[in-house]
């Protein structure tokens, strides 16, 4: 997309909402929940029907929202829903159906602390649910982890592109901090929405009405014949493999000469970036591997860094979820430890640097 020099101060949730409009979204279906209600509020105030023709509808529940998304996605439309953790739990049924029918769509979770009603404060405790598949069946979705308000905006266009490239769900895994904070955002020019004719041409699988020149299109995940269902599942797995081969994204911050690295994503990565600055000022050679895609996970990069560094510390606002994938990547080559805060608490930069020092440096023994 082309940047416009149109720079605004926006909340992460507002940037996401503006992003989907400008990326040519056809429909948004959602239900209010803190800390992501600004998405639906912002869209409702934008008069999107007049601005781009985009449909915005407040559904009766998150369950209805995700199935409205299903109906629209099956017509080849660019559709979106967003919620926060408890609402995302309700949507898992729909995610599984979307996976089974290979429908493209864009989702966002502004994660808050759980379990249960939990808290409205930021958290990263939905990693397993999102990355390992919260609904039933063998499936994956592409998971993008924004660490800034600009990325909340940029990942909408990227998300749609990936969703339609692979016919897959793309989840933007944000959190209350990224959703609620304001930063500057550079906006792009408005992309046009596809016309129905363009959709018919581009997405021949879509249910757009059976015309005489083609067989009927059926969107279903059901096949009672196990042999056929296995073929279908193998096809899905092959697609997930293609995604793993082509779509890994991460950012290395001061990793080149690092003796220790943090691994983190989202707002934790921002905290770690500060901790890297504080550590470097103290003479500690510390770096940060910031994950951008959580699926596909950068196992190879973790493996490479594991051979270089003396210790890896994962920082998560959870009891330790992503750390399992980091350990898989490290595969025993280096010690991997986890530090997390729970219940909506964000660790401080000094705090995580201190943990790094206590864990790896002060306990260092020389043979």
């Amino acid at each position: 997309m082309t940047k416009t020099k149109d720079i605004r101060l926006m909340k992460g949730n507002e940037a996401f909402a503006e992003g989907i409009i400008r990326a040519g979204c056809d429909g948004y279906f959602g239900y209010p929940i803190t800390p992501q209600s600004e998405v639906l509020e912002y869209l409702s105030a934008q008069k999107t029907k007049e601005r781009t023709g985009m449909v915005v509808l407040q559904a009766e529940s998150e369950i209805a929202s995700i199935h409205m998304v299903y109906g629209g996605a099956a017509c080849g439309k660019r559709v979106v829903t967003s919620s926060s953790s408890p609402g995302i739990s309700l949507m898992q049924e729909g995610f599984s159906y979307l996976a089974g029918t290979e429908l493209p769509c864009l989702l966002m979770n502004v994660v808050r602390g759980g379990p249960g009603l939990g808290t409205i404060q930021p958290s990263q405790s939905d990693y397993f649910q999102t990355v390992k598949g919260g609904g039933h069946g063998d499936y994956k979705m592409i998971v993008l982890a924004p660490a800034s308000v600009q990325e909340m905006y940029d990942f909408t266009k990227l998300g749609f592109d990936l969703a339609f490239k692979y016919r897959i769900q793309v989840m933007i895994l944000s959190d209350g901090a990224i959703g609620q904070m304001m930063e500057k955002v550079e906006l792009d020019k408005q992309l046009p929405r596809l016309t129905d004719e363009e959709i018919i041409k581009k997405y021949p699988w879509a249910t757009t009405g059976k015309t005489a020149d083609r067989e009927r299109n059926i969107i279903t995940s059901l096949d009672l014949n196990p042999a056929k269902q296995e073929i279908m599942n193998r096809k899905l797995q092959a697609k997930f493999k293609r995604v793993e081969e082509n779509e890994v994204r991460f950012e290395n911050i001061h990793c080149d000469d690092a003796e220790y690295i943090f691994v983190a994503y989202g707002s934790s990565a921002r905290v770690c970036e500060k901790a890297v600055q504080l550590g470097r000022a103290k003479g500690i050679k510390v770096g940060l591997l910031r994950l951008i895609t959580l699926f596909p996970f950068p196992y190879e990069e973790v493996a490479r860094l594991s051979k270089q560094v003396e210790g890896i510390l994962t920082i998560e606002m959870s009891a330790g979820q992503m750390v399992e994938d980091v350990r898989l990547g490290a595969n025993g080559a280096v010690r991997v430890e986890h530090y997390g805060r729970l219940g909506g608490i964000i660790p401080a930069p000094e705090e995580v640097l201190n943990v790094l020092e206590e864990t790896f440096i002060k306990t260092k023994t020389y043979a």
Partner: protein, 260 residues
């Protein structure tokens, strides 16, 4: 004994003698429904009306979970299969984004009036410009005859083997009367397809419902009280008789809400 020449099949089966043909909107697949079941007739009626109104290229149907989960095998139109109870939400998504298409759901009683009650009531209340075909046979057919929200008092099912006890299992839900009270519904009717006369009436109701959607009038809702001879453990003939004697007094046929 009359000295007549026997008429051959070839002499009868001529285009000029054709009084009834199967709509091309039904596929060649053999119906998977039990012999005597009403689903086949209801499928055919909807497809006939869509053909007569020349709507095949403009129709998107939503199949539910239940016996008619495979409806798309028999209907020669674009279709989506929805999660259990979610068809009205799926149809909302389709219709909002493709407002010029004819969008319908085809749902059973468990789907529409139990697990999907919320989606049903809210789609109706919003006045979504879609058409809901609701097949009510008072039982969960596909899963093997368990109690449904519409199961009659004292009716025996796999999960109410001694009859539906109102005290402990609650009352049958007259969802159609309920949604008729909502301002978003435009046309609400209850029909059956167990006799030729009822088939003709049901077809007229289906025609109206589709016509109203074309006119953007809001939600039309056609309930069809039908039998489930397998689930009810009766012969088809017995089940139709039982339907007349037991179901219709509780679920009386006729229009419930008609346009003013």
């Amino acid at each position: 004994m009359l000295d007549t020449v026997p008429i051959t099949k070839e002499e009868i089966c001529k285009p000029e003698n054709l009084v009834y043909g199967r709509t091309p909107l039904m596929t060649d697949a053999t119906l998977s429904y039990c012999p005597g079941c009403g689903h086949g007739t209801i499928h055919r009626l909807i497809m006939e009306v869509i053909e007569e109104m020349n709507l095949q290229a403009d129709t998107i149907g939503v199949a539910p979970v239940g016996c008619s989960v495979l409806a798309y095998d028999f209907l020669n139109i674009d279709m989506q299969q929805a999660a259990h109870g979610r068809a009205p939400a799926v149809a909302t998504g389709i219709k909002r984004l493709m407002p010029h298409k004819f969008v319908f759901t085809y749902q059973g009683d468990g789907d529409l009036a139990a697990i999907g009650t919320g989606e049903t009531i809210h789609a109706c209340n919003r006045g979504e410009n879609i058409t809901i075909f609701f097949v009510n046979n008072g039982i969960y057919g596909m899963t093997g005859g368990q109690m449904a929200p519409t199961t009659l008092p004292n009716m025996k099912t796999a999960t109410s083997p001694f009859g539906r006890d109102i005290e402990t299992m609650g009352n049958p839900l007259k969802i159609t009367e309920l949604i008729a009270m909502l301002p978003g519904t435009y046309y609400v009717t209850r029909q059956s397809v167990h006799t030729a006369a009822n088939v003709r009436k049901a077809k007229k109701a289906i025609q109206k419902a589709i016509e109203y959607q074309k006119l953007n009038k809001g939600l039309s809702f056609v309930e069809i009280v039908s039998n489930c001879n397998s689930g009810w453990k009766m012969t088809p003939v017995e089940s139709n008789k039982w339907m007349e004697e037991k179901m219709f007094p509780f679920y009386p046929l006729g229009d419930i809400k008609i346009p003013k």
